[in-house]
Amino acid sequence: MSFAAELPTRRVEAWKYSDLRAALGDAPHVLREGRDIIERLAPGTQSMDIPAGEARLFVERMDDDAYLDARAFEWRVAEGATLTRVVVQTGAATALSTARVTLASGAKLRQFVLAEGGKLARIETHVALEGEGAEVELNGIYMAARGRHADLTSVITHAVPNGVTRQLIKGVARKGGRGVFQGKILVERGAQKTNARQYHHGLLLEDGAEIYAKPELLIHADDVQCAHGNTAGGLDESALFYLRSRGVPESQARSLLIEAFLAEAIPQDLPEALREELLGRVRAWLESSS
């Protein structure tokens, strides 16, 4: 059987907006059965445990402009431990990442993804809250210039009571660029007192920009607090006029507003140098693609 035959078609719900067949073609790969497609494409799964009570920061940079970069991770975060994960995807090639994170009681995952998109870039995150009182902060921004495809996909499963999820994804796309957000939050029957919020806001910067969003909240418990919001639109014209009326030239005013829009999703409490790097990426993108 050819490799392409094993790739998901766009009829597969989880891949409806990202055409992996077109991005990879009939490249030869050794496939193992029964795993997530990205895990099968990756050279192996990197497994890590964060010991109880400890805190770890991982920064992954996916910046290859020429070759497929596929990565798979598995993290188990023990009681009261914190995993902070930052993914910076900037390369023009196809970039695929999948992570499975399980959280014990009181454990925290704080993730931030900056995705500039590639031929096809997909950062997939699967989180299972398996211990009570676990917390997830899953933020991200995408910035899709012409010819770039950026896909942020996540599945967060609340299996036990008293879990907290905060998700804020913001993205922008220019003409010929495509942004995708697929976010599922599943609250299982026993996960009472879950507190989950999911927001995605997209800005279409020009005609011909594309943003696809599929937010999903599936709630099987009856005593939960859940909220979600999803918008896609253009830049706020009244804000643009406000800045211009104060003397800021239109192109600079647009950049300031887009930067402000995106910066809201970048966590305040990341190490300062890292936060500056991310803001620098946003500014560089605004300068290079405008």
């Binding site: 406000y242 800045l243 009326s245 003397g247 800021v248 030239p249 239109e250 600079q252 829009f261």
Partner: protein, 248 residues
Amino acid sequence: MLDIANLQVAVADKEIIKGVTLSVPAGEVHAIMGPNGSGKSTLAYALAGRDGYAVTGGTATLDGADILALTPEERAAKGLFLSFQYPVEIPGLSTLAFLKASLNAQRVARGEGEMPAMELLKLMRAKAEALKISDEMLKRPLNVGFSGGEKKRFEALQMAVLAPRFAILDETDSGLDIDALKLVAENVNALRGPDRGMLVITHYQRLLDYIKPDRVHVLAQGRIVASGGPELALELEREGYDKYLRAA
């Protein structure tokens, strides 16, 4: 200073301002009063250059230079300032960053070069203190979650820092309690001077107790139907706009 002659403005193809003529010399403060829907805010937006406010006739000059052909940012660099009736909330952009971008853009456009960062910070802090605005508030996103009164204080702050040649204040009193109104008026009055003009737009006479105008004009149904001294505002407060609405 600001000279408007037979100005006509349409919004969505509907004529709102139907030939307004008005001159505010340097050093004077004029008030425009009028009922809701008379075109007060339309006049303000058209002078500031907002998209969708189409000037269909007439002229407007500041210090003799045509402003209608300029972009909003060019008008600002020439010294025109509009205090908004409804200041816009901008999440993710601090007041400090907003003011820095505004002042420096204007200075660069005028060939003055950017203000050194420390000097700028000192200036902003001094003006903020006069308006009882804390350092912490300057760092918060512009207008986000602010009360009506706080937003107007921040408009007054912007005006004080940008020190415009000519200021248009659109319904500065709306949303203000009496203490905030006094504070804002005090700071507006501090900017009055022989080289600066102001146009104060208001529905109510109350604001004019604190910002005393040299002249008062009544705008009704897109036209100036009466002009006079400060006593005209008192008469309007007593008698309302009815007789002007019937006459217009």
